[in-house]
């Protein structure tokens, strides 16, 4: 198991970028929802919405940095620690009710993200094809 973990390890720098990316994304989503409220665009919180949109768009620079290093089909799921952050934030800050089944769905999604993170990520390394043995993987540079 140790060997597998080592081979698949993401570069630490990219991991930090992903965490920051998630936090900015969560903040943007929260502010946009807070600003939109129940859908009435003329409400007084429209400034909060624009700040949220600003966070959402400024994430682009960070995202291009991440995409230039790792595969899209790996980067997208890994950018989803916000799936844990957002329902938590929705409960605490927006006082939404999160159903028990929804927490179970959330758990399955997190498990799926974990499996995808086991897959090779670097754009530069050769890819293992479907069904081949793990030992044949090429380690990260």
């Amino acid at each position: 198991m140790e060997k597998i973990a080592k081979i698949n390890q993401l570069p630490l720098k990219i991991f930090f970028f992903l965490v920051i990316n998630d936090m900015v994304d969560t903040l943007g989503q929260l502010l946009m929802k807070k600003g939109l409220g129940s859908g009435d665009l003329s409400n007084p919180h429209i400034l909060i919405f624009w700040i949220g949109l600003f966070f959402y768009v400024s994430n682009f620079i960070l995202w291009m940095k991440i995409l230039s290093k790792i595969d899209l089909s790996v980067a997208l799921p890994l950018a989803s620690m916000s799936y844990l952050l957002i329902p938590l934030a929705a409960v605490f800050f927006l006082h939404e009710h999160v159903h028990a089944l929804r927490w179970l769905g959330l758990f399955l999604i997190m498990a799926g993200i974990y499996f995808i993170s086991l897959s090779e990520s670097s754009t530069r390394t050769k890819f293992r094809t479907f069904g081949n043995d793990r030992e044949q993987q090429v380690p990260h540079e």
Binding site: S38, I61, K65, E96, L108, F115
Partner: protein
């Protein structure tokens, strides 16, 4: 089929089109890495020269508009979890348009995420 679900599907379609374009741009950014300039200037230079980044931005904007409409008509924790359908879109889109391989852990992960989405949608 509720309104939020349809809006999320439309949003995710355009977001994936945008992401594919961004990734194509990022790959070209990689090949010109030797320039030695600070990365932010490389990105700005590429923004001007690569049409894929412009097309991607327009697609992302379209996706964002649909996404905002979806956010406005459902709870955030519900709409956002429905949005995870993008990984299934991404897996196949990356396979067909970017030639990224579909590996066993990727496939297991995507199936688990699908299950999670279904559980979320019925709750």
């Amino acid at each position: 089929m509720n309104k939020a679900l349809i809006l999320v599907l439309l949003a995710e379609f355009w977001i994936i089109v945008g992401q594919i374009c961004f990734k194509k741009g990022a790959n070209r950014l990689n090949t010109e890495d030797a320039a030695g300039k600070p990365w932010i200037f490389q990105l700005l230079g590429c923004l001007l020269r690569f049409p894929s980044l412009w097309i991607g931005s327009v697609a992302m904007l379209l996706g964002l508009l649909f996404w905002l409409s979806a956010l406005a008509c459902g709870e955030l924790s519900y709409v956002y979890l429905l949005g995870s359908i993008q990984y299934i879109f991404a897996l196949f889109a990356a396979y067909f348009f970017l030639h990224e391989k579909i590996t066993t852990p990727k496939l297991i992960g995507t199936l688990l995420i699908t299950l999670g989405i279904i559980l979320t949608a019925v709750s």
